[in-house]
């Protein structure tokens, strides 16, 4: 009797030990590439460090005091939020719109479905080169086109003045990343059973009602995940902004990622940069907690 009673716990313990052995490599790698840099950043943020020599002295929470009292972090956070909200809304609108269109039976559907992915697969450097050429105020195709159409009568300085520069990066960001939304939404649309639409039609629902009563509720979970993921990615976007405007004019498109970079390698203040990045991480933690709670609830 006792042997039988103790058997399952022993087996369970053996499985538990096997589990630990199996996830150990992952935990090790995770610690090396994520936990170590994280702790190092927090450690660095307590020092005043000159980047080229990596020498400096302990200053306690001084860097955080500067973060809280000086304008740089907060205005950059504001810029980051404008960029994130702006480009994300456009990505969602364009992405969902195009997914709905590509879900219809249009004759060039499969061709269009592959073409839509193009911006997403394009290297950021190449995409930015193309867009800088389009945006150029001397020979840019965009100005030329807009003048031909009579929308503007003088060439606009797209990336060198505000608010055009912010509008420009938001547009390019939306263009670059909306295919992700298209693909994710399209995949979900294809799993919505056709008979739901048929039932709704019989119940007297028009196209708008069918979208809000059948399509949207079915898209809700995938949209939440897309929005959270893209919000995190857009929030920390670096290369696209750095290559397109470098944060300019002056600091008007300088998001937090660019601020951290500028502080660390432009102004050689590694300690302050580390403090900014810890601040940035705390903001992103909010998104991450939302995402984890969301996906946790789904499963």
């Amino acid at each position: 009797m006792t042997a039988i009673a103790t058997d399952p716990p022993m087996l369970e313990r053996r499985y538990a030990r096997l589990g630990v052995v199996l996830i150990a490599p992952t935990i090790l790698v995770f610690s090396l590439v994520i936990v170590y840099p994280l702790l190092a950043a927090i450690y660095l943020s307590l020092f005043s460090i000159y980047t080229p020599t990596l020498q400096g002295e302990f200053v306690g929470l001084d860097n955080y005091a500067k973060l809280l009292t000086q304008k740089a972090f907060w205005s950059s956070l504001g810029t980051t939020l404008i960029w994130t909200v702006g480009t994300l809304s456009l990505q969602i609108l364009a992405g969902v719109g195009l997914a709905l269109l590509l879900h219809q039976n249009i004759w060039f559907r499969s061709l269009a479905r592959s073409l839509v992915l193009f911006p997403y697969f394009l290297s950021t450097v190449v995409a930015v080169l193309v867009w800088r050429w389009l945006f150029n105020d001397l020979y840019g195709a965009l100005n030329h086109g807009l003048m031909q159409l009579g929308v503007i009568d003088m060439p606009l300085d797209w990336l060198g003045s505000m608010p055009n520069a912010m509008i420009g990066v938001i547009l390019v960001g939306a263009w670059k990343y909306f295919p992700f939304v298209v693909i994710a939404v399209l995949a979900r649309l294809q799993t919505i059973p056709e008979h739901l639409y048929e039932a709704a039609r019989i119940d007297g629902a028009g196209p708008v009602s069918r979208f809000f009563d059948v399509t949207l509720p079915q898209l809700r979970s995938v949209l939440t995940v897309i929005i959270l993921l893209r919000a995190i990615w857009d929030f920390k976007e670096f290369d696209l902004l750095y290559l397109l405007t470098g944060g300019g004019p002056v600091t008007s498109t300088q998001t937090l990622s660019l601020l951290v970079y500028q502080e660390a390698f432009g102004l050689n203040r590694m300690g302050q940069a580390a403090a900014y990045s810890v601040g940035m991480m705390l903001v992103m933690l909010v998104f991450m907690i939302l995402y984890i709670r969301r996906t946790g609830r789904e499963s």
Binding site: E198, A199, R201, I202, D203, D213, P217, R220
Partner: protein
Amino acid sequence: MANVTLSKVRKSFGAFTALEELNMEIAAGEFIALLGPSGCGKSTTLRILAGLEFPTSGEISIDDRRVNDLPPGKRDIAMVFQSYALYPHMTVAENIAYPLKKHGVKRPEREAAVRQAAELLQLEPLLDRKPKQLSGGQQQRVALGRALVRDPKVFLLDEPLSNLDAKLRSYMRAELIELHRRLGKTMVYVTHDQLEAMTMATRIAVMHGGRLQQFDTPEMVYNCPANRFVASFIGTPSMNQLEGRVEGGAFILGPDRIAIDRTMFRDDLADGPAVLGIRPEYIQIGRGPLQATVRLAENTGHETILTLELSEGSRITARVEAGSRHKVGQVLSLGLQNDAVHLFEPGENGARLNKEQTGAAVIPMRAQ
């Protein structure tokens, strides 16, 4: 009250023809069962009536109005889907109320209608649940409720009871009959269950391979089947069909001669190959010209079904009282009740050769 007409309706999916030349006139207030084996085109017919599928050719009208070009929402119909098609994110109550909401019915009236439907369908304890939290049968009742709350011209029901257990099914059968009597609405009811069709419908449309085989009252479909398919499809066990030939006043079956009354049959009945049909209940055991060996005796409790082998080799089934003791291997003599004989043309789906009302005493099925 609205009548429904299908005239010369054809439907093909690519090269495959699902419906061929369907003509059907349904009077206002009728309860029509579309009955037939799987894949015969019942759902397709219903979906064409609903406007979810367009006929390749032909005309459809509801309430004397051509509806070919009307979208489903404008045809004033309610439908129960074979696959339920409940809105997954809405509760049971919201699902049932949805068509009312889309037709601009005010909230208090909606709630009253939902309560009434829930009571009828025994759904009250489930009103706050989501479809995912329901069993198949419960979902089916919600789908039924969503159709019943409305006041449409025509109800279209695609196998609405197929997933219910036997008890609930017979309860719902009675409820639907009662509901039809009370509302007097035209109903088109798809089923492959002949018991449902026989007990509920005012008329049955028997379909096979995309063609309408017979469109008549349950009594007529049972007693005067139009052809061999209807004869074998309606009734369990199905009608015995024996291939032989007509010669004068007799049907020749191998070595045996069965006397027939030629006045029962069409005047153009000629001598030659034919098929004799007789239902198992009209086979008289113990007297008659035929010899048969008992091969199988199945006692169902209230009756016994005998499978018998005739001397020339073909098998027939006979329905006898439960108490009767017949042993496998026993040789019996048997006869056919003369006024219950049908003759059909030979061939896979030969037409019936009887004069209209002959073949069996007419049994009333459902008091209209």
